[in-house]
């Protein structure tokens, strides 16, 4: 049960209230936000709520709101850093901490700047505990759409923040690395995990299952990491999160021209928004991504809104009749994929339920 693990770092009074939340609330829980001296807030399915001292959820600030006292905040931070802020200095400087179980804590405080660069973060005043969910099996139904003549296509997952890109990428990596019987043979995957979010590595060990032949380069800048992986680990697939800078794009192009398959994510609410970003233009000019998967929240976190090809022609769109994909028609099934909650709502093109597909994949090893 991942619930107590996420809140085990919280100070006792806060932990007690959160531990009392019901199962349904826990399924919807995305974030717990602590601000020193202010009310604790939780994010449930994208919406922010206050908690009372008795654990009642309120959209408006209640009179008996659960306040994060200075003492509770200090204790939480101390436990989170194992009383050793100096040992996680590099992560703190980047504004986050990786917690055991693959969860993350975003941090804000007073930045100490030296030569125009943030040297450290002091007087930390806010913590955002982000629930890192691994949902094994969610990528299995998507995989057939990412294949053409049996070969995995370069794929870009796009959405606004918090729609489940990283969770989907994580499972995609696991599937590609493990292989899916009858669909895809397992491949060597190199992951550049700049924000330690895909694998959630702790002391070099991924906290999430990324498959048997996945190498993780943790906390490494993407551009440099991609080149390091190409030189050192001869990956067949390279995966990275949140492509955004010119250097990232150049490194991706380098990998693509080296014959490596690329799986990446990017922040963009629509395909048009993506095209409007000048930094990403070379990726479209060279039509390097043959599949673009647009995620949204219309049916909950992780709803697959559309899949496009390299000409931005929609191959599949939620709520419309689909078109031919990967050499075979999928029929006129209405697309309503989403995997929030217990994740049962994804109609698999192969007719298999995601969980069963995952078990088959596991048995193949």
């Amino acid at each position: 049960m991942p619930v107590p693990e996420l809140i085990s770092c919280l100070a006792e009074p806060l932990r007690a209230v959160l531990a009392g939340l019901d199962e349904r609330t826990w399924q919807q829980l995305e974030e717990v936000r602590l601000r020193k001296g202010r009310p604790l807030m939780v994010t449930l399915s994208g919406f922010s709520f206050f908690l009372t001292r008795t654990g009642k959820i309120c959209p408006e600030l209640p009179g008996d709101a659960l306040i994060v006292t200075e003492r509770a905040f200090a204790e939480t931070l101390a436990v989170m850093t194992k009383h050793s802020l100096y040992a996680v200095e590099e992560q703190v400087r980047s504004g986050f901490l990786t917690l055991s179980g693959g969860h993350r804590a975003g941090l804000v405080g007073r930045a100490v700047v030296e030569n125009g660069q943030v040297r450290s973060l002091q007087q930390i005043g806010g913590i955002n505990l982000r629930f890192g969910r691994a949902v094994p099996g969610i990528a299995v139904p998507l995989l057939p759409y990412l294949l053409a003549t049996g070969r995995l296509q370069n794929t870009l997952l796009l959405s606004a923040p918090g729609a489940g890109k990283t969770t989907l990428l994580r499972d995609l990596v696991r599937c590609v690395s493990t292989g899916v019987p009858g669909l895809l043979v397992g491949l060597r995957v190199g992951v550049v995990d700049e924000r330690s979010e895909i694998a959630g590595c702790q002391a070099g060990v991924p906290q999430h299952d990324l498959g048997p032949q996945t190498d993780v380069l943790d906390s490494c800048p993407k551009a440099e990491g991609i080149m390091m992986l190409l030189r050192a680990m001869s990956p067949q697939v390279v995966a990275c999160d949140e492509v955004g800078s010119h250097a990232d794009v150049q490194a991706l192009l380098e990998a693509l021209h080296a014959g490596v398959i690329v799986l990446a994510t990017v922040h963009a609410g629509t395909a048009a928004q993506l095209q409007a970003r000048p930094v990403l233009r070379p990726l479209f000019e060279e039509k390097v991504f043959q599949r673009l998967v647009l995620l949204g929240r219309s049916q909950g976190v992780g709803t697959i809104e559309a899949i496009y090809d390299d000409n931005l022609r929609p191959l599949l769109k939620r709520g419309t009749k689909d078109v031919e994909v990967g050499g075979g028609s999928v029929g006129d099934r209405r697309m309503q994929w989403h995997w929030t909650g217990c994740g049962g709502g994804i109609p698999a093109p192969t007719g298999r339920a995601p969980v069963v597909a995952y078990r088959l994949a596991g048995a193949g090893n």
Binding site: A11, R71, A74, E75, A78, V79, T81, K82, H83, S84, L85, Y86, A87, E89, V92, S120, Q122
Partner: protein, 132 residues
């Protein structure tokens, strides 16, 4: 020892304390060991609290003066709560203050001859902090 573990090895504080305990003598070793266990098992919410409890348990075996306790407690209040360079500053300041206290004690002891009861544990702490 603590300084090396914190500044160079970047060991988590509890394992740094345990390593230092291996190189220190009683009663300091006991205080370090006890404090580390208390922190690991979340019986103490802060380093200062863990240290205070550990020191209290060894009160009879040590001859620390209130001033020395205050120096160590103010060090503990800062341990693990800032970045590497800040930690180094706190450790060095504490060592300097302890050395001054030792010097003052030595002078006092020359007068009243009670040097040994005091100097032993204090030197132990100094060795634990300085060993590099």
């Amino acid at each position: 020892m603590l300084e090396t573990e914190i500044s160079y090895a970047l060991s988590p504080l509890t394992s740094a304390m345990q390593t230092a305990a291996c190189h220190a003598q009683r009663p300091v070793a006991n205080v370090l060991q006890e404090s580390a266990i208390r922190l690991q098992e979340r019986q103490a919410v802060s380093v200062a609290q863990a240290w205070e409890v550990g020191m209290e348990a060894e009160r009879d075996r040590s001859a620390l003066l209130p001033n020395d306790r205050a120096i160590l407690l103010s060090l503990c209040a800062a341990l693990g709560r800032s970045d590497r360079s800040e930690q180094q500053k706190h450790l060095r300041l504490a060592m300097e203050r302890l050395a001054q206290a030792e010097e003052a004690a030595r002078r006092a002891a020359e007068k009243n001859g009670r040097l040994w009861s005091y100097l032993g544990p204090l030197t132990g702490i100094l060795v634990a902090l300085i060993l590099i």
